[in-house]
C-alpha cells in the first residue's frame, strides 16, 4: 500500500519534470498549424512578457527587493539593440549587447543602494526610471522623443522572431529554475526573509542582491532588444513608459511571486488580457491594475499559484475524506 503511494508520487514527479519540455515542444511546433500572423504576434509578445516577468521575479520574488524601474532595462536594451542592428551587427550580438548595457545600468542603481538597509533601493528605481525617460526624450542620437527606426536589410520573417522570443523565454525560465535550486537561490530567499540573519549565516547580501539584479537586468535588456527588432520602431514614451514598469512588476504578482511558474502564468494572463483591455479601455487600464494590485496583496498574496495551491489542497482534503470511508 505504502509502496503503491510512493510509485504514484514518483511517477507524478517524473511527469512534472517532463511537462516543461512538452510545453516547449508544443509551442515550437505550433507554427506548423499555420495559426495566422495575429496569433503568432500575440505569442511573440507573450514570450517577451514571460521573459521580463521571470526576470523581475529573480530579484523581487526570490530576493524580496521591489523594483519599479525595470522599464529602464527594457528600454535601454531596446535602444542598444536598435543602434547596433542599424550598424549591421548580427541580431544575436545585438541582443547580447542589449543585455550588457542593461547590466551596466543595474549596477548604477544597485551599487549605491544594496549596501544600505531601508527603502533606498525601491526609491532609487523610481528615480532611475524617471531620469532615464527624461534623458532619452532629449538625446539626439536616438531621435529624442520622436523615436528611432530600425532599418534591417532582408525580408521580414515573423517565425524567426517567434523562435527568438521563445528561445529567450526558455532561457529565462531555465535560469530561474537553476537559481531556485541553487545555493544562490537559497541565499536570496534567506535575504528576503531576514537579511540580518542571512548575513550572520555567511550569506553576502550585497553580492547576492547585486548579482540577482544584474541577471534580471540582462534578461530584461535582451527582451527589450528582441521586442525592438520585431517592432522596428521604438520611442521613449513606449519602451520607457511608466506603464511598462508597472506591467513588469504586475505580472509576477498576478501569477505568484517567489515561485517558478507563477511569473510565467502571470505573463500569459497579462499578455492575453492586456491586449483586450488596452483596446477597450485605453484610459482605465492603470486604474484596473492598481486595484488589482491592492486586491491581490490583501486577499491572495500568492497570486494565481497561491489560489491553485489552495484549491488543490481543498481537493486533496475532500478526496482524503471520502477515501477514509471506503465501505460506503
Amino acid at each position: 500500500m505504502k509502496g503503491g503511494l510512493n510509485s504514484v508520487s514518483s511517477r507524478s514527479k517524473f511527469a512534472a519534470a517532463l511537462a516543461p519540455f512538452f510545453l516547449v515542444a508544443i509551442l515550437a511546433l505550433l507554427p506548423l498549424l499555420e495559426p495566422g500572423s495575429e496569433t503568432i504576434r500575440l505569442l511573440f509578445v507573450t514570450f517577451v512578457w514571460v521573459t521580463v516577468s521571470v526576470a523581475w521575479n529573480l530579484l523581487g520574488g526570490f530576493g524580496g527587493q521591489v523594483s519599479f524601474g525595470f522599464a529602464v532595462f527594457y528600454g535601454l536594451g531596446a535602444y542598444a539593440a536598435a543602434l547596433s542592428l542599424n550598424r549591421g551587427i548580427s541580431p544575436i550580438l545585438s541582443f547580447l549587447l542589449a543585455g550588457t548595457v542593461a547590466v551596466l545600468a543595474s549596477l548604477l542603481v544597485g551599487l549605491p543602494t544594496f549596501r544600505l538597509k531601508g527603502p533606498y533601493f525601491a526609491i532609487a528605481t523610481i528615480g532611475a526610471s524617471e531620469a532615464v525617460r527624461v534623458v532619452m526624450t532629449n538625446v539626439s542620437i536616438t531621435g529624442g522623443a520622436s523615436g528611432y527606426r530600425i532599418m534591417e536589410t532582408g525580408t521580414f520573417d515573423q517565425l524567426q522572431h517567434f523562435y527568438t522570443a521563445l528561445a529567450l523565454a526558455v532561457i529565462a525560465v531555465a535560469i530561474s529554475m537553476l537559481v531556485q535550486r541553487s545555493k544562490f537561490g537559497l541565499a536570496l530567499i534567506a535575504i528576503r526573509e531576514d537579511e540580518e540573519a542571512a548575513s550572520d549565516l555567511g550569506v553576502n547580501p550585497f553580492r547576492a542582491k547585486l548579482l540577482a539584479h544584474a541577471l534580471a537586468a540582462a534578461l530584461t535588456g535582451a527582451a527589450g532588444g528582441v521586442y525592438a527588432r520585431y517592432a522596428a520602431f521604438i520611442h521613449p514614451q513606449g519602451v520607457f513608459a511608466f506603464s511598462v514598469g508597472v506591467a513588469i512588476l504586475l505580472m509576477p504578482i498576478i501569477g505568484g511571486v517567489g515561485t517558478l511558474w507563477g511569473p510565467v502564468i502571470g505573463a500569459v494572463v497579462y499578455g492575453l488580457v492586456h491586449e483586450e483591455l488596452i483596446a477597450s479601455f485605453p484610459q482605465l487600464h492603470l486604474l484596473l491594475y492598481g486595484s488589482l494590485l491592492i486586491l491581490i496583496i490583501f486577499f491572495e498574496p500568492g497570486g494565481v499559484m497561491g489560489l491553485l495551491e489552495k484549491s488543490f489542497r481543498v481537493f486533496a482534503h475532500t478526496r482524503r475524506l471520502s477515501g477514509s470511508h471506503p465501505q460506503r
Binding site: 528615480g127 527624461v134 492603470l286 491594475y289 492598481g290 496583496i297
Partner: protein, 298 residues
Amino acid sequence: MMSAVDLLNLVIAALLLAGVYAAMSVGMIIVYGVMKIVNLAHAGFLMLGAYFVYELYARFSIDPLLGVLLAFPVFFFIGLGVHWILIRRIPSSDQPTLTSLLLLFGLWLVLQNLGYLIWGNADRAILTPRTLYVLQIGPISFPAVRLIVFGAAVASIGGLELVLHKTWFGRAVRALMQNSDAGRIVGVNVEKTARIAFGMGIAFAGAAGGLLAMLYSFSPDFGGSFLLRAFVIIVLGGLESFAGVAIGALILALAETFSILVLPASYQPAIAFSLLVLALVVLPEGVAGLWNKRHRLA
C-alpha cells in the same frame, strides 16, 4: 558672465523653492518615521490637493491660500479613512516591506487614474490677479506668488514643529521615530499615533499639492516628478530628521536652480536622480548623519 545681482536672484529663487519642497517632503517623513512605510501614494495626494484647491477657486472663487488652509482638515480625514481601509492591515515592520510598497504603489495608480477619469489629461493652472505680480526691491525681484507660497510653507512647517515639540502626540511621534520598541515600552499607543501620523502626512501632501498648484500647471500625473524630489530630500536629510528635510530641500532647490546655467531645463528630473545617487554614495545617512557623527566625536 553672471553678475552679483543675477547670482543673488538665483539664490533667492532657490530659497523660495526650498520652502515648498520642504512642505511637500515633511508629510512623507512623518509617515516613514512612525510607520516605516514609504508612502508612494504621496504623489497621488499631492495631485488631489492641487485639484482640490483648483476646484474651490474655479467653482466658488475661494482664494487658493484659503483653499490650502482648508486642504489640511479635509486631507487629514481622507488620510484617516485610507489608514482605516488599507494601511492598518499592513503587517508592521521596522523596514519597508514588499506588501507596503506594492500596496501604496497600487493606491497611487488608482488615485492617478481617478484623476484622469474626473479631470481628463489636459493641463490646468490656477491664475489669480497676483500670479504675475513681481515685487521689485532695488535690482532684486521677488515674484509675489513665490513669496506667498514660501510664507505659507514655512508657516505650516512651523505649525508642525510646534505640534511635534509641545504636545503629547508630537512626543509620541518623535519617540516612535527614534525607537519604536522603546516608545512602546514607555506607553506610546502605536496604533493611534500611527493613525494620526498618517492623517497628518496626507494633510501635508494635500496642502503642499495646493501650494505647488499655485506655482506650476498640473495634470493627473503631476505628482510623479515631485515624488522623486521628495525622496531625494528625505534621503539627503537622513530619512528621520525634520531639520534634515529643510537642508535637503535647500540643497535640491539650489542644485535645480543653478543647473539651468549649464543644462537645458528639460533635464531637471535627471538632476534629482543624480543627486539621489550621489547622496547615497557620499552621505548614506544624510546631512543629519554627518551632524550626528561629529556630535558623537566631540
